[in-house]
């Protein structure tokens, strides 16, 4: 039954991809196998549709055995998807495809510890991409053209290093946004940081922003106009775009002033405290990541509100908070014993059907353009908040390992009790030191 369903689904997807990609994909309908040897240099091997490729891509690989890493919550769904995958390639024998729980956050580290025992196909967060590429443990995407056509441009660009697409986009949602208790903060107030804080203070509740963690702390630098622009030639030094120092210092001061004005309301705490804070009723609003959405919803139930990050008023103008925004990718281990099968499986798992299933069952924001247009995404407040925030964000890719510590420090210093928000010279030095430390100068 499952097999039939999978084949049916695959067929349906063939139809949709034609509509979606405007003929960008391979228009040859599958099965003939005559076109097996043709592979363009730039676009990579050819595909059949948004999920499947021609069986000839496997080459002489058979009796295939693979390992897949997926985050714990997705394991059971991925197992189902793999059954469908096996059914879609009845010509091949799959000895074993095992799915192992492995968080996306440290999949890269695990892989680099020992690639030979790691998964063949793995989910990971975008910040690890350049480390993996530098260590040459990740294989480039074999079906680059098709993947590029199907997925949103930003994801593809972020996954491309030195003109090579290195990973299959999986989600478009790895970021943080404003979560609020609708009984405390109104939808309208959620637009401005000043209003959010005022509303929280009035209700005697707190606002959490994890300033001391570089992942969140860099928001202040970005909002101040300091932007990162990939890495220098050496592949490890962070490149920054030019910024207007006077303006940047003013913005940092505005942040610091607000934090000090709302001391007792604005708290810098770990994100694990957000959902708890909502459930105990001590929290009015907080900045939280998409991976905590379920917990936040459980805590707030009907009063759950989600919006993009608010604005902050700097000298009379409202500036949008700019966050760090990442993607999740599916990568193929360069040391895989079955490189072709691993690529085909990664293509399938990152394909349209699987993305849609994950959006429906797990609430993950898809990177696939077709799925992005579906109701499950467009009708979700969270997905919309994330999407809007992603338009005001720096992309979390090509981040130097030295980035996190100094950015966390920046956040810590803004909120610290002994910081004087009026001391412009202090902020100017703080900013310079932060940039210098990220660049590991001196």
């Amino acid at each position: 039954m499952k097999k039939i369903l999978a084949i049916l689904l695959a067929g349906m997807m063939t139809a949709t991809v034609f509509a979606g990609c405007g003929g960008g994909g391979n228009t040859e309908s599958g099965g003939s196998g005559s076109d097996t040897q043709s592979s363009s240099d730039d676009g990579g091997a050819e595909v059949k549709d948004a999920n499947l490729v021609d069986v000839s891509v496997f080459g002489d690989e058979d009796n295939i055995s693979l390992k897949v890493w997926a985050p714990d919550k997705a394991v059971s769904l991925v197992k189902e998807q793999i059954e469908a995958f096996k059914a879609a390639y009845p010509e091949k024998t799959f000895t074993k495809i095992e799915v192992v729980a492995q968080g996306e956050g440290d999949a890269g580290t695990q892989l680099m510890n020992d690639a030979s025992t790691a998964a063949d196909v793995f989910s990971f967060a975008s910040d690890q991409l350049n480390k993996l590429v530098d260590a040459k443990v990740i294989a480039p995407v074999a079906f680059a053209k098709a993947v590029t056509d199907m997925n949103s441009e930003a994801c593809v660009t972020a996954g491309t290093l030195q003109d090579t697409l290195y990973a299959y986009p999986e989600t478009n949602d790895n970021g943080y946004y404003l979560v609020y208790d609708k009984t405390v903060v109104s939808d309208e107030q959620a637009g401005k940081l000043e209003d959010v804080l005022a509303a929280c203070k009035e209700a005697g509740k707190k606002f959490i922003f994890n300033c001391g963690n570089g992942f969140y702390g860099c928001t202040f630098a970005f909002t101040a106009g300091v932007k990162i622009d990939g890495l220098e030639e050496d592949g490890v030094t962070q490149k920054f775009t030019d910024y207007d120092e006077a303006e940047a210092v003013k913005t940092l001061q505005a942040f610091s002033k607000l934090m000090h004005e709302y001391k007792g309301t604005f708290t810098s705490l770990d994100n694990a405290q957000v959902a708890s804070g909502f459930s105990t009723g001590t929290l009015g609003a907080g900045v939280d990541g998409s991976w905590n959405t379920n917990a936040d919803q459980d805590a707030l139930k009907d009063n759950f509100g989600a919006a993009k990050l608010p604005t902050i008023n700097v000298d009379g103008t409202d500036k949008q908070l700019i966050s760090l925004f990442g993607y999740k990718y599916i990568g193929v281990n360069a040391a895989s014993q079955f490189p072709a099968a691993a690529q085909v499986l990664a293509y399938y798992l990152a394909g349209e059907t699987c993305q849609q299933q994950r959006a429906e069952k797990l609430g993950w924001g898809p990177s696939n353009k077709n799925v992005q247009g579906m109701d499950v995404v467009t009708k979700s407040a969270v997905q919309q908040a994330i999407k809007q925030q992603s338009e005001n964000a720096c992309v979390q890719v090509n981040i130097a390992p030295t980035f996190w510590d100094p950015m966390g420090n920046l956040g810590n210093k803004l909120v610290a009790d002994d910081t004087d928000p009026d001391d412009a010279a202090y902020f100017s030095k703080l900013l310079k030191d932060t940039v210098a430390n990220v660049r590991d100068e001196g």
């Binding site: 714990d72 510890n113 025992t117 790691a118 694990a272 708890s276 805590a299």
Partner: protein, 286 residues
């Protein structure tokens, strides 16, 4: 005069009791907090009050039953740790006793040098050696294997010989000499005379090496990698409070910590007397 002396002593004792009670409360309170909140029903991670509002056994029940539905498999981890602890504690104890008996009783050329080397070897901050250890184990085909953990936890045991050597030093030499005259070999002296007298130090060694595997969360993680079913409780508990799991598993983490504390506390309480004797006798000379 005598009365007032007694009175003064009573006053002094009263204050000592008071102070001990206060200190006792301070030292036990984190543990009490841990136990109380492991029975908490409401909220997810921490709460801004001391005593839970609703109580439940759910955290414990889930801890032992959720194995099928997720990669959190506490019962399995508990058994793994227990097995590893038992074996590494046997091997460690044998190594420690062998090394410390040798250094205490036997005289040979390189003895002093070996003792010095052994003493300083353990002082190297070993984080970077872990990756080397991993690849050595891998070359032996032992990576991602519980045997590897047993080896890691017991391999360096011989370096911690000082305390038990100190203990052996306190056993009078005359015993050995008498036995030698009766024709006993050193092997026989070790097993039949010294060991039976060394209960405190054996218990001390067993205790310290048994506890090790329950606490290490760095080396074990590197060796096990993605083999979650072979995790020990320390890595497991650590993973339960990682960003991916904390909201869902924090209270189970507390329950798990209590479960880990139970065997260790019990062991400590039963063997406290020997522990004190062992560490003391060893410390005097160590």
């Amino acid at each position: 005069m005598i009365k007032s002396y007694k009175f003064r002593r009573r006053i002094a004792n009263f204050f000592i009791y008071l102070l001990l009670a206060i200190l006792g409360i301070i030292w036990v309170s984190p543990f009490v907090y841990l136990v109380m909140h492991s029975f908490r029903a409401e909220s997810m991670t921490t709460v801004p009050y001391l005593i839970p509002h609703e109580w439940t056994f759910d955290n414990y029940i889930k801890l032992f039953t959720s194995a099928g539905s997720s990669s959190i498999n506490f019962p399995r981890w508990f058994i793994n740790t227990f097995v590893v602890a038992i074996f590494s504690c046997i091997i460690s104890t044998i190594s420690v006793l062998a090394v410390s008996y040798t250094f205490s009783r036997l005289r040979f050329g390189a003895r002093k040098k070996l003792m010095n080397v052994a003493m300083i070897l353990g002082m190297f901050p070993g984080f970077m050696t872990m990756i080397a250890i991993y690849y050595l184990l891998k070359a032996m085909g032992l990576n991602q294997n519980l045997i590897a953990l047993v080896i890691c936890y017991s391999s360096g045991a011989g370096l911690g010989f000082q305390i038990s050597k100190g203990f052996f030093d306190t056993i009078p030499r005359a015993l050995d000499e008498a036995a030698t005259i009766d024709g006993a070999t050193r092997n026989q002296i070790f097993w039949k005379i010294i060991l039976p007298m060394s209960k405190p130090i054996v218990v001390y060694t067993v205790l310290t090496s048994f506890i090790g595997p329950w606490c290490d969360f760095i080396l074990a993680k590197i060796i096990m990698g993605d083999k979650r079913e072979l995790y020990t409780v320390a890595i497991g508990l650590q993973s339960m409070v990682s960003a991916e799991f904390i909201n869902e598993y924090y209270k189970q983490f507390l329950a798990g910590s209590v479960m880990v504390a139970i065997p260790i506390t019990t062991l400590f309480l039963i063997m406290q007397r020997y522990y004190v004797e062992g560490v003391t006798a060893g410390g005097v000379k160590g």
